[in-house]
């Protein structure tokens, strides 16, 4: 498998505290990578640097053999990186189908990502609604949905562009125990269909074990363990600083 994303000595300090301390890592195409670590370990900072929300103090982010370090979030999204947020970022006053329509229209008409020559918006919206089982909420106002459904809509908005790399920030936080596997199954189904590489921050080790084929464990702005779920979760440092066993 070829490298899709590389970070080279990424460093980011807030005041005197390192949120990212010389992080170098390669992510292969089509892999599903879980980012674990306690609060403040640097996972979200890592995602924010990759998506251009934060600029690193030093270091480089290479995506598809091109530096994206100084690009804006919008330019990075044009390169094929998309993300969801810990707190879902939706168009809360608009209906679910309107949210998706805006997402589709941006991709098709207002970015260089355009995939098809002529698109039937209604057909595409219905496809997405079906894919993420959101059809029954199509007319509902996004801001009034349950947390699980809002997370799903947030992720579906991130997937509208069929990105090469999808970053998910705590996709199951605030979602009930019954719903979280259903949600992840839907997301992973879509990801497989679009051949998307996934990087996701998660605290739930059941989710991490079930859906990832690689884990990066963060502590104090550094990666303290990197490997298969089996290897990482058995690592003594990970047990001590992350899982707290």
């Amino acid at each position: 498998m070829s490298k899709l994303l590389s970070t080279e000595n990424i460093t980011k300090k807030f005041g005197g505290v390192y949120a990212a301390n010389s992080i170098s890592v390669d992510i292969d195409e089509l892999s599903v990578v879980g980012l674990i670590g306690s609060n403040g370990a640097g996972k979200t900072t890592f995602l924010n640097i990759i998506t251009g929300y934060l600029k690193p103090d030093s270091g480089n982010v290479i995506f598809n053999q091109q530096s994206i370090t100084n690009m804006s979030p919008r330019e990075i999204s044009h390169e094929g990186i998309s993300r969801s947020f810990q707190i879902p970022q939706l168009f809360t006053d608009l209906s679910v189908e309107k949210n998706l329509e805006i997402g589709i229209r941006i991709i098709e008409d207002l970015t260089p990502i355009k995939r098809t020559k002529k698109i039937n918006y209604d057909k595409k919206i219905n496809e997405l609604l079906d894919q993420f089982s959101l059809s029954e909420f199509a007319k509902s106002t996004a801001g009034k949905l349950s947390e699980g459904t809002r997370k799903l809509l947030d992720i579906s908005l991130a997937l509208v562009s069929q990105p090469k790399l999808l970053l998910l920030d705590e996709p199951t936080s605030g979602v009930s125990a019954d719903e979280k596997f259903i949600l992840m199954d839907k997301v992973m189904g879509a990801v497989k269909k679009f051949e998307t590489t996934v990087l996701f921050v998660e605290h739930d080790m059941e989710i991490i074990e079930k859906y990832t084929n690689r884990i990066l464990a963060f502590y104090d702005g550094k990666i303290i363990s990197d490997g298969s779920p089996d290897e990482v979760l058995k690592n003594q440092d990970v047990k001590k600083f992350v899982t707290g066993e």
Binding site: S72, F91, G103, I107, I113, S161
Partner: protein
């Protein structure tokens, strides 16, 4: 369905054409001014949908009026079509330039910065004696497409038709724009700029485009008002004038492209009658209306029709 809409609009347009012919002069004037105000507020509706309130659209209203009005004293041109082209062109250029700065700001900062620019124009005009200073000057709109209009018995009616024609054009263009992908972004930006950027669209560019469109509408309305009233002065750029536009925007609501025209008509009617009944305290009546609208119809008068439709 589409044909029905078109028929309804055409019927409405023709009804106004006929109505304008029969109403008394004062009512015709009121209708013309309301249409002109409606055009400005239509542009401000676009900004409001984007989540922005401009307290300085008097700038473009005044620029449009002066761009039309100064053609005669400066170049000897008093052809209405050229005057109106000028009232669109000058605000377009100024808004395109100012837009690069204003698109960076939101909320009260956007509102106050836009107000500052309109007051700068006011200051400049007040100090320019060549343009009549605080008194302004009379506008001579002599011909329309080569036909002499001045002193014609139908002059007022033709000017009304001109305003009606441009109001319809503006409504049509606004409907088209709001249905386009760029136009749809307005509400998305008001809701969540971060998500818009992360999907891949430029928030700043969209705000800039919407700002220029609203400025062009205000400029056109300024030009039409200059022709309608026959006199322009720096008051058109004063903050109270911009305040009136904000007033009508709140009164109308942002629910429909027709709302600004209904709002403007109500505003002009209340103002005219309040001024006649109580020349010294007419502002109080407007204040009272505003209070009632904010308390009982926070989404504007148009929400009344929406509620009725939903029932």
């Amino acid at each position: 369905m589409k044909n029905n809409y078109f028929k309804n609009y055409l019927t409405l347009f023709l009804a106004f054409v006929v109505l304008g012919f029969f109403v008394p002069k004062w009512a015709l004037y009121l209708m013309t001014v309301s249409l002109n105000y409606g055009i400005i507020v239509l542009g401000m509706l676009l900004l409001a949908r984007t989540g922005l309130v401009s307290f300085g659209h008097g700038l473009y209203y005044c620029l449009g009026a002066y761009a039309a009005g100064t053609l005669k004293p400066l170049f000897g041109v008093n052809e209405i079509s050229i005057m109106l082209l000028s009232s669109i062109f000058i605000p377009f250029i100024i808004a395109t330039l100012l837009g690069f700065l204003l698109r960076r700001y939101r909320d009260i900062f956007f509102a106050m910065l836009s107000l500052a620019f309109s007051m700068i124009l006011y200051g400049l005009l007040v100090k320019t004696s060549r343009l009549g200073s605080t008194d302004g000057f009379n506008v001579d709109a002599h011909t329309l497409m080569g036909f002499t209009l001045s002193n014609s018995p139908f002059e007022r009616y033709i000017i009304f038709l001109l305003s009606l024609f441009f109001a319809c054009i503006c409504i049509f263009l606004m409907i088209k724009y709001l249905k386009s992908s760029r136009g749809m972004l307005a509400e998305a930006i008001r809701d969540n700029e971060l998500r818009v950027e992360y999907i891949g669209a430029s928030v700043k560019s969209t705000i800039h485009i919407n700002y220029v469109i609203s400025a062009v509408f205000a400029g056109l309305a300024g030009g039409l008002t200059a022709i309608t009233v026959g006199h322009i002065d720096p008051e058109m750029s004063y903050w109270t004038t911009s305040g009136e536009f904000v007033f009508i925007t709140i009164l109308s609501g942002t629910g429909s492209v027709f709302a600004p025209f209904v709002g403007a008509a109500i505003f002009e009617t209340i103002r005219s009658f309040a001024y006649e009944l109580s020349p010294n305290t007419w502002q109080m009546s407007l204040g009272l209306v505003m209070l009632i609208v904010i308390m009982f119809l926070p989404e504007g008068i148009w929400s009344l029709l929406k509620k009725r439709k939903n029932k």
